[in-house]
């Protein structure tokens, strides 16, 4: 009985090791096809990013210079390290009432950890993660960005 277990052990070890060697052997033989290395500065034009890569937070604007941000500050609350600061203002509506709207969406790239929590918190889908990653600048102040474009306003019907 002991011998049976022993031989089974040895057999299991050998077969599983051979299975692993088969995989790496396959990779070795097909390295031209399978290699996943990107030779970055050389292939800047044809660089392919992974889908889940997150580079920075952006706020997409449509052709009428309108975005979907209502200034609810859900992203600011969701941010774990104070990357986002939203400055709101009161704007008059056509009916004569005053309505809260966004004045400045301040995004501090140097504090951001790309955790994606703000994008998940946003109820209107106003912000998303972009895949740009060449962020180095000579002046640190340039990393504090204003995400909403000048004179942009919230899209009609977004509440």
């Amino acid at each position: 009985m002991f011998l049976k277990e022993y031989i089974k052990d040895v057999w299991g070890a050998i077969s599983s090791l051979l299975k692993g060697m088969k995989l790496t052997g396959y990779y070795f033989m097909h390295h031209n096809k399978e290699a996943i290395t990107e030779q970055y500065p050389d292939n800047r034009k044809t660089l392919k990013m992974a889908d889940r890569f997150r580079g920075e937070v952006v706020m997409p604007h449509d052709e009428n210079n309108e975005h979907a941000c209502t200034g609810c500050t859900a992203c600011e609350l969701a941010c774990p390290n104070g990357t986002i600061k939203i400055i709101t203002k009161m704007e008059p509506t056509p009916e004569g009432k005053k309505k809260k709207a966004i004045d400045t969406f301040v995004y501090r790239l140097e504090l951001c950890t790309m955790c994606n929590l703000c994008v998940e918190a946003c109820p209107t889908g106003a912000i998303k993660m972009d895949q740009t990653f060449e962020h180095s600048v000579f002046d640190r102040r340039l990393l504090t960005k204003k995400l909403n474009k000048p004179d942009s306003k919230v899209r009609e019907g977004v509440e």
């Binding site: 052990d9 040895v10 290395t37």
Partner: protein, 358 residues
């Protein structure tokens, strides 16, 4: 047939004709020394390049591709960098031992070269206890490693060296037992005779199952003896920074690094000699014409081809298998490899007595 033995005989005759015997012998020593050192440096460059390339391809990377055509000069650049670095000796270290250790490790791998047969009639010293000599000398390298670990005055170094000691002492046993199976079949310890016995076929084919088992055990044991992954506990980067050579820098580190690769070459050369027929071409029983064609490939090509194939297999192990824990390592040796190789030894002895091999 082209053979290197003509050249060596010619040089030998010329030296003895020109100089008195003592001086001729000394000159031969010098020539052999220069050849061995040249082989060492070439092996270092080629094997490290090969290792990096194999590692990259198995991990779906590209590997070195910047220095020279297809990155071929990367190891040369690395060597130049290591030469330029300062070889520091820590204050608390035992100065003599610390500086002696890399040379001992290096010298051991040089001395093992002596009985190896690189081609037909191309051998430094055809000693009649060749295989025994190899196993005896190769266990000296553990002294160098222990010396390095102890003299460094560093807990990582000491731990690495102690692990390495336990490991080499244990795996020497099963490596020795699997070498003995071939000695039983050949009836000789002399390297040239072991190769000559494989004229009609390599032992791995002639000895079928028992020799195949001992070949597998030999490969596992020498992987452990050369301190390579999955048995690289002696330097386990993630646990002990660099193990026994944590404190070494510059060329002293390079000597350890080089000795590791040369040791791989040496053990693979021994494996190729014992199991795959050394420089002997691939012969199939009585197929005269096939054997004749195989004879046209130079013997040195056969030897280096087999050796590099085994080196590739060992590199394949390294980049596939995860590292063992120290208790798993000793379990593997004492509970599995040693009993199996002892049983295998009986099997081979029976086979040799009854003549069941081809």
């Amino acid at each position: 047939m082209f053979s290197l033995s003509h050249i060596t005989d010619l040089v030998n005759a010329w030296l003895y004709q020109q100089f008195p015997p003592t001086l001729a012998l000394l000159l031969q020593f010098v020539i052999v020394g220069i050849l061995v050192i040249t082989l060492f440096s070439i092996l270092g460059l080629v094997l490290i390049m090969m290792e990096r390339r194999v590692a990259a391809w198995m991990q779906l990377r590209l590997g070195p591709n910047r220095v020279g055509p297809r990155g071929m000069f990367q190891t040369v650049a690395d060597t130049v960098k290591l030469i330029m670095k300062e070889g520091m000796t820590p204050n608390g270290a035992d100065k003599l031992m610390f500086n002696l250790a890399p040379y001992i490790v290096m010298m051991v791998s040089m001395v093992i070269m002596a009985p190896l047969m690189f081609a037909d009639g191309f051998q430094i010293w055809d000693i009649n206890i060749g295989v025994f000599f190899i196993t005896a000398i190769s266990s000296v390298s553990v002294i160098g490693i222990l010396m390095a670990g102890w003299a460094s005055n560093n807990k990582y170094s000491l731990l690495g060296a102690m692990r390495s000691g336990a490991q080499i002492v244990s795996y020497e046993l099963s490596a020795g037992l699997s070498i003995i199976t071939i000695v039983i079949l050949t009836g000789s310890l002399q390297v040239s005779e072991i190769i000559a016995a494989q004229q009609t076929g390599w032992w791995i084919f002639k000895g079928h199952i028992p020799v195949l088992i001992s070949f597998v055990i030999f490969i596992i044991a020498v992987t452990a003896e050369t301190n390579r992954a999955p048995f690289d506990l002696a330097e386990a980067e993630s646990e002990l920074t660099a193990g026994f050579h944590t404190e070494y820098s510059g060329m002293k580190f390079a000597l350890f690094f080089l000795a590791e690769y040369v040791n791989i070459f040496v053990v693979c050369a021994i494996g190729a000699t014992l199991f795959l027929g050394g420089w002997m071409p691939f012969h199939i029983g009585s197929w005269e014409s096939f054997n004749h064609i195989m004879d046209y490939i130079p013997s040195s090509v056969w030897f280096f081809g087999k050796t590099f194939f085994l080196i590739f297999v060992i590199m394949w192990f390294r980049w596939t298998f995860p590292r063992l824990r120290i208790d798993q390592l000793l379990n593997l040796e004492w509970k599995y490899l040693l009993p199996i190789s002892m049983f295998n030894l009986i099997l081979v002895t029976l086979m040799a007595i009854m003549g069941w091999h081809f």
